[in-house]
């Protein structure tokens, strides 16, 4: 369900920890796709192998292909993810809602 090109997504997985811990929610915009994608933008990509992913843009190469990365060591490497085209970028993360600290538990 989206409103005015904005949509809330629930995040699973740890590769964006600590900025986006597992079970966080992110507010992402679709309309940002028309704007230029730059390194360090946090984007949602529709990856042919891994499905819907939230990742940071590492670089945009001279062929306008986008290489993405996670935020910690457990993330898939940039090389493993491979490049994606701009059409595969679903949106850009505008806001992250993380679980309040008091509700956290020891894993």
């Amino acid at each position: 369900m989206s409103f005015f090109g904005l949509k809330i997504w629930k995040v699973t997985g740890h590769s964006m920890f600590p900025r986006i811990p597992q079970h966080s929610y992110v507010l992402a915009s679709f309309w940002y796709n028309f704007k230029k994608i730059k390194p360090n933008h946090t984007v949602l990509i529709n990856h042919p192998k891994y499905g819907m992913l939230v990742k940071n843009v590492a670089i945009v190469d001279k062929n306008n292909l986008i290489w993405c990365k996670g935020e910690n060591a457990s993330s898939i490497s940039v090389e493993q993810l491979g490049p994606v085209s701009k059409q595969q970028v679903i949106g850009r993360v505008l806001k992250v809602f993380i679980k309040p600290k008091s509700a956290s538990t020891i894993a």
Binding site: M1, K7, I8, W9, K10, V11, T12, G13, H14, S15, M16, F17, P18, I20, P21, Q22, S24, Y25, V26, L44, Y50, G51, M52, L53, V54, K55, G70, N72, A73, S74, S75, I76, S77, Q80, F97, I98, K99, P100, K101, S104, T105, I106, A107
Partner: protein
């Protein structure tokens, strides 16, 4: 506040999910590998000290000396690798809140491991073992297990922290 609100909405309408996909989230972590690596270093130091008492080195002695030093080196690196994997992949905000000493402890293990590699000194390797044992103790507490200390029944017969795995 927003999180709790979104969480309640999610219970009703289920937001689409997006994955922060990890490499291989195998969740298999155990500090025993690091503890055994330190024991190996201590054992290598004992054997090297025994060799130091010899007045003359034969060709075999020289080869043995090189092997012992090489093993001490490689296990020093192994200690660092095993500890950093647990520290980097398993330890997260909740564990750090509960055990704020963790960052300093891990850093001190890195330094102690380097020092144990640089010297043939039992006191330094025993200090490394103390630190790695403390790390193991914290790890098992994070996992919800109590621990006990026992002397390992093989050389170098040092005290190790073990988990009580029956809850």
């Amino acid at each position: 506040m927003f999180y709790n609100l979104l969480n309640k909405i999610d219970d009703k309408i289920h937001f689409s999910t997006v994955s922060a996909h990890c490499d291989i989230p195998c969740k298999i972590y155990d500090p025993i590998t690091a503890q055994l690596a330190v024991l190996t270093m201590i054992r290598m130091v004992d054997l090297l000290n025994e060799m130091a008492e010899k007045t003359k080195f034969t060709a075999n002695d020289q080869a043995q000396f090189a092997r012992l030093v090489a093993q001490k080196e490689s296990h020093g690196i192994k200690v660092k690798e095993e500890i950093t994997v647990i520290w980097g992949d398993f330890i997260k905000a909740p564990q750090l809140e509960k055990f704020p000493e963790l960052h300093d402890l891990v850093h001190s293990i890195m330094l102690a491991s380097s020092s144990a590699k640089q010297h043939i000194n039992k006191a330094i390797t025993l200090d490394l073992l103390t630190k790695v044992n403390r790390f193991a103790e914290i790890f098992w507490q994070c996992k919800g297990f109590t621990t006990y200390t026992a002397t390992c029944p093989y050389p170098p017969e040092q005290e190790l922290v073990y988990p009580v795995l029956t809850k």
